[in-house]
């Protein structure tokens, strides 16, 4: 896969960037990473990443995947994605500051402007969260 700067893959900018690497891309599957830092927007007072932070991370992982495909097709700017639905979200634990998240996003269905994905986020401690998500994509 091509090495493309993350700012070209997702439209989000500081302080709400929740993906720091797109590691693998296949036709219907991608792997992303994110290291949780203490200055993250979704850090709770106990130093853990809030559940909503995991949701935003999975959404941006899908966005990076869609962005990669768009850049491959010649897009200049990454498409803007909006979460349309979160379904069957299951959170086992909140990652801590310093943890590295690895997330697998699998495309379950895709139509014009909508993508339905399954996302699973792991840390060294195992699966932190998994969910289905519908993301609206606007080029």
């Amino acid at each position: 896969m091509r090495d493309i700067a993350l700012e070209k893959l997702i439209p989000q900018r500081s302080p709400i960037v929740m993906v720091d690497g797109l590691l693998e891309v296949e036709a219907e599957r991608a792997v992303t990473s994110f290291t949780v830092r203490s200055d993250n927007y979704f850090i709770d007072t106990d130093g853990c990443l809030a559940e909503a932070g995991l949701i935003e991370h999975i959404a941006q992982s899908a966005s990076a995947f869609v962005g990669y495909k768009a850049v491959e097709k010649g897009a200049d700017a990454p498409p803007v994605g909006y979460i349309g639905e979160v379904k069957r979200f299951d959170c086992r634990f909140r990652p801590r500051t310093g943890d590295r998240l690895l997330t697998v996003v699998s495309v379950m269905a895709e139509a014009e402007g909508v993508i339905l994905i399954q996302g699973t986020t792991r840390t060294d401690g195992g699966i932190a969260a998994e969910t289905q998500m519908k993301v609206y994509v606007k080029a």
Binding site: Q12, R13, I43, E56, A59, K87, R88, C91
Partner: protein, 123 residues
């Protein structure tokens, strides 16, 4: 981080039979809009979920952990410019180790979020 008084402010709260209504003001100067998205302020759906958790915590008086979300639909795009205030209606039903939550974020007829899930007491 605590989103109250950063991302939103509670400007009214009414609790009636088994239902709570929070009148929410979205704060357009919140830092999050620098990045979501530059030049196009859109309320992140994830922030609405975190806001809901904080509001439910004020109802149960304990820290909560979002254990599962059965379904959360975002049916309209909210932004602090087009939607400066909204109503968050919450119904909580006690379950063994937490609460089952049903919630809606609305502005008049317009529905922004429709949420069903379980929050556990965070121990």
């Amino acid at each position: 981080m605590q989103l109250e008084n950063n991302y939103y402010r509670i400007v009214g709260k009414r609790i009636t039979d088994g239902q709570a209504l929070f009148r929410i003001a979205f704060l357009p100067d919140c830092d999050v809009y620098r990045g979501h998205f530059p030049g196009n302020a859109v309320c992140p759906g994830a922030c609405h979920i975190e806001m809901l958790k904080e509001c439910v915590e004020t109802l149960v008086g304990k820290p909560l952990f979002i254990r599962t979300i059965k379904q959360c639909r975002f049916t309209a795009i909210a932004s602090p410019l087009v939607c400066p205030q909204a109503d968050l209606t919450v119904v909580c039903i006690p379950v063994s180790d937490g609460v089952a939550v049903e919630a809606r974020l609305t502005d008049g007829e317009k529905v922004y979020m429709d949420y069903r899930g379980k929050m556990a007491f965070d121990v």
